[in-house]
């Protein structure tokens, strides 16, 4: 094993200058074989918006967008990527993704309860913020013991609706191996379940506190379940004095584990590129092969060779030409979703969208909780991305496909457009009020002294991160000059139109 790891490191070091291009080499090879021409590199204005949304779930501030496009340095994209890792918004956004997968929710069917939800979300956010190596991250979630309020990682097991070893194993397989145990033969499921058979849960004097622990007395008394087998088929004898979760975690995060790193890099690829090398991103199995097998292998090796540093994988992908391609595809490539010939447009997630609307209009959203207890206090300026608790009530988030966090499946998040979503954005009092009452929009118009041209320019820069082209400027000027329209109505209608444009609603 060690020699293998060593040789990987040597290989990685030797390949250093080529590394960023390896993705592009493998993607291009396949595009060439299919006779497809990839889209051109995206413009700086598109890039700055895209990278902000993809890395932090936020729109770039106006001045950043402007400075970036004016910046002449050759490596400015690399520098911006490195800089965004350091933002708190990066940690908030990626912690949200983990909260989806780990079913972070106060109430029903996982019953974490608000206090534990907060502890767990904080722990996950810190893990992203501090760039905790992914093997350590998994090990801590899998092996933690203690109170749900004081040892946040134990909530990994508490978020599973029942305590059956088979359900725990199924959650572990989905989360860290991208495997659905429903597809497994019975023996394989039972073999893995044995590792989670001696987990204990007990309440304390504090309300809703629960301690999760390895039940050593029970293990000593009843012995360990027989038939523990790792999912790769290796049998393992369990000793009563050793927490079997530790044994499983050691196997899982070993550098030669066939599932662990592959599942994770596939998720990262799917999160950043919009579609997994294996699709669905959490459904890795022999009869669902990756679109680019060598690329998946290579990314997994990179993750292992870099001590499970996820940001290394992010960097590889974000700095590749494949990621930085324009979304505007040729007619021939319109149907290409698996070859990555162009950037895939996706509607902003519910949370990102409402945060973006509040950011440009200048306002906030009211979130409430039905759970009567003090930990559910939600400050007025709360961003949806950082909400943490999936039980928080918000008709908007529900309408725009926030995952219910019932199953931990990637497919729970629904970004498909619907008629009711369209109605809401086009014509609801909710959105209309945001535009009419938002302090940022009012300030923008005041600063522009209500003159149409600066208003249009500023609206484009704030909302779409680019200036209007000549045609758009003329359309806007003509609109605002119409008779029977008050000056603020004209400006609001323009903001309304930009908010409803695909360029605002989609990652592109």
């Amino acid at each position: 094993m060690w020699s293998c790891l060593f040789s990987l490191c040597v290989l990685a070091a030797a390949a250093l200058p080529l590394r960023a291009n390896e993705i592009d080499r493998l993607v291009s090879a396949k595009l060439n074989a299919e006779g497809r021409t990839p889209a051109a590199r995206c413009s700086d204005a598109v890039f700055v918006r895209r990278i902000y949304l993809d890395m932090t779930g936020r729109l770039p501030p106006l001045w950043v967008a402007r400075q970036f496009t004016e910046n002449k340095r050759a490596n400015k994209r690399v520098a911006l990527i490195n800089q965004l890792f350091k933002q708190d918004a990066f940690a908030d956004y990626w912690a949200m993704k983990w909260c989806d997968i780990l079913r972070v929710k106060a109430e029903f069917p996982s019953k974490l309860w608000p206090n534990a939800v907060q502890a767990y979300q904080r722990w996950l956010t810190d893990a992203v913020h501090d760039n905790m190596p992914y093997d350590q991250f998994a090990r801590e979630l899998l092996t933690a013991s203690g109170s749900n309020f004081r040892e946040p990682a134990v909530n990994f097991f508490r978020a599973v609706p029942d305590h059956e070893p088979a359900s725990l194993a199924s959650t572990v397989a989905l989360t860290f191996m991208g495997q659905r145990t429903d597809n497994w033969p019975r023996a394989r499921r039972d073999g893995m379940a044995a590792f989670f058979a001696r987990l204990g849960y007990k309440g304390t004097a504090e309300w809703k506190e629960e301690v999760v622990f390895f039940d050593l007395p029970r293990a000593l008394k009843e012995g360990m379940p027989a038939g523990a087998v790792f999912p790769d088929g290796t049998p393992q004898e369990l000793l009563p004095e050793v927490d079997p979760r530790l044994v499983f975690a050691e196997w899982l995060v070993a550098p030669d584990n066939p599932y662990f790193a592959r599942a994770m890099v596939n998720r990262v690829w799917a999160w950043l590129i919009g579609r997994g090398l294996v699709h669905e991103a959490d459904d890795l199995r022999a009869d669902n092969p990756p679109s680019h097998p060598p690329l998946l292998d290579w990314l997994a090796k990179e993750l292992v060779a870099h001590d499970y540093d996820l940001r290394h994988v992010y960097r590889l992908i974000l700095n590749s030409d494949t990621y930085q391609r324009s979304c505007v595809h040729s007619a021939a490539n319109a149907d290409d979703a698996r070859g990555f010939s162009h950037y895939l447009v996706r509607r902003l997630e519910a949370e990102v969208l409402i945060d973006a609307i509040n950011q440009v209009a200048g306002g906030s959203e009211r979130y409430t909780s039905e759970i009567p207890e003090p930990f559910t206090f939600i400050p007025p300026q709360q961003r949806a991305v950082a909400l943490g608790d999936g039980s928080i009530t918000s008709p908007f988030l529900d309408m725009f496909g926030r995952p219910p966090r019932d199953t931990g499946l990637e497919s729970e998040r629904n970004n498909d457009p619907s008629d009711t979503q369209r109605l809401h954005l086009l014509n609801s009092t909710h959105i209309q009020n945001k535009l009419q009452r938002g302090w940022a929009l009012r300030q923008l118009m005041k600063r522009a002294k209500w003159r149409p041209e600066p208003i249009i320019n500023q609206l484009y820069l704030t909302m779409l991160s680019r200036p209007p082209n000549a045609g758009e400027l003329k359309v806007g000027m003509d609109y605002m000059a119409q008779e029977g329209l008050k000056r603020h109505e004209g400006a609001l209608d323009l903001a309304w139109a930009l908010l409803n444009s695909k360029e605002f609603l989609y990652r592109h």
Binding site: F108, S167, A334, R347, P404, N427, Q482, L485, S501, H508
Partner: protein, 441 residues
């Protein structure tokens, strides 16, 4: 595994009555897709749980500590059926609905009881089932060729919250909550009717949006964008086209609007009638303020006359328009309220939660009217005859809609999940055969 009280009751009942559904062969025979008599459901959800004693199960003989000032029952237009004295208009329509007086589930928490009554499943087995409206929307909505622009599952006016109405079916089967208040003019339906934006400005805005769709124009042929465009077209058909006029209550005569009552509930009933007239399969009126722990009787004096005019006129109007045969009206909340009144402070004459027994009302769409099913004891504290579980009622509604209660629902993890629990789950759903017209037991 321990048996709950309910399961025990169920098992002993099945033994006593010899319920045939336990027999797998017979159960399979019952699976033949039922013939639909109903096309739509109007569900009047009594949010918080309405008192059964003060509405459809009066106990005038139980004394002041049970009846308070509502100490009289009134005759209805059906011989032998009496209801509470604050419901005189409903008394004239009793031939159109049946009263289920022995509803029971024994749960006294709002959330778990609501979940149980709205899904037919008990909470806590790890799955989150869809509410009846979600299931109907799945079987009778867009998948079944429902073409209306109006969403197939509508809630007047606020969503029910707390639990996800669509359950594991996902957001596509969630209800469209109108927002606004139908007793105001205009009824501002969120997204469809905007207050203060003229038609001319709407049209100008639409044109502006079209001419500024720069990215959309660059990406002709993109499937994701094409789907978004089609949603936008449909949205505008509702905003500017004729379909949205269904929400314009000023199209109704003053006489009709007055008859329903010029309050939120009355006009919601009228709105519901207009929606089922257009073929909408499921409308829920989320009727709030029935969780009357304190000063219960003051609330009843204020609210029951509104319930009376709205619901009675709904039955009458549906009947006059020939819609009652195809429309199920289902009235009820998550539980009843304690028969014994809490006179002491802080309640000052209040009633608490009571899941042990409560009343529901159903009529139309194949449910016979003019019947009482089940009975409670002298003080309305226990089921005296024929317990009815929420799953029995829901299973019956599905059957009248032509939905097989044992049909499989799509589950995200590919589990086989049936709409209603069956004998193999230890809680088979019965049916209300005694009031289901033309359906053989």
């Amino acid at each position: 595994m321990t048996m709950t009280r309910r399961e025990m009751l169920k098992t002993s009942l099945a033994g006593a009555a010899g319920l045939t559904l336990c027999d797998p062969l017979l159960a399979r025979a019952a699976v033949a897709p039922p013939v639909a008599t109903a096309r739509s459901v109007i569900q009047i959800w009594m949010w918080g749980g309405a008192s059964h004693l003060d509405t459809f199960d009066p106990k005038p003989g139980a004394g002041y500590d049970y009846c308070g000032p509502l100490d009289r029952a009134i005759d209805t237009n059906v011989d032998g059926i009496q209801i509470g004295k604050l419901l005189p208009k409903l008394a004239t329509q009793a031939d159109k609905y049946s009263i289920l007086r022995s509803m029971t589930h024994g749960v006294n928490g709002h959330e778990t009881a609501s979940y149980l009554v709205q899904t037919g499943h008990k909470a806590g087995d790890g799955l989150v089932y869809p509410a009846v409206g979600g299931v109907v929307s799945y079987f009778k909505g867009h998948n079944a060729g429902y073409k209306g622009l109006i969403p197939p599952y509508i809630v007047l006016t606020k969503p029910q919250g707390r639990f996800s109405e669509a359950g594991f079916l996902g957001s596509r089967y969630k209800p469209f909550a109108t927002g606004g208040n139908p007793s105001r003019d205009p009824f501002v339906v969120e997204g469809v009717v905007a207050a203060g934006i003229s038609r001319q400005r709407q049209e100008r805005r639409r044109a502006l949006l079209g001419s500024l769709d720069t990215l959309g124009r660059q990406m002709k042929g993109n499937a994701a964008f094409a789907a978004a465009d089609s949603c936008q077209e449909k949205a505008y058909d509702l905003i500017l086209g004729d379909a949205g006029k269904v929400f314009d209550l000023t199209e109704e005569s003053d006489e009709v609007r007055d008859r329903y009552g010029r309050h939120e509930f009355g006009q919601s009933c009228l709105m519901a009638r207009r929606l089922v007239e257009k073929g909408v399969p499921y409308v829920t009126i989320n009727y709030r303020n029935w969780d009357t722990h304190k000063q219960h009787f003051q609330s009843m004096q204020r609210q029951l006359p509104q319930l009376d005019s709205g619901l009675a006129t709904l039955f009458e109007d549906l009947g006059e328009r020939g819609l009652l045969d195809s429309t199920i009206v289902w009235w009820g909340g998550e539980f009843g309220r304690t028969p014994k009144i809490q006179w002491d402070p802080p309640w000052n004459g209040g009633r608490g939660h009571f899941g042990k027994v409560f009343s529901s009302v159903v009529g139309g769409g194949g449910f016979a009217g003019g019947q009482v099913v089940g009975a409670t004891d002298a003080r309305g504290e226990n089921v005296a005859d024929r317990p009815i579980y929420p799953r029995d009622l829901i299973g019956s509604i599905y059957e009248l809609l032509g939905i097989d209660p044992t049909a499989t629902l799509p589950h995200p993890q590919g589990l086989t999940v049936q709409a209603m629990p069956t004998a193999s789950d230890g809680q088979d759903a019965g049916r209300l055969y005694e009031i289901m017209k033309g359906v053989r037991a």
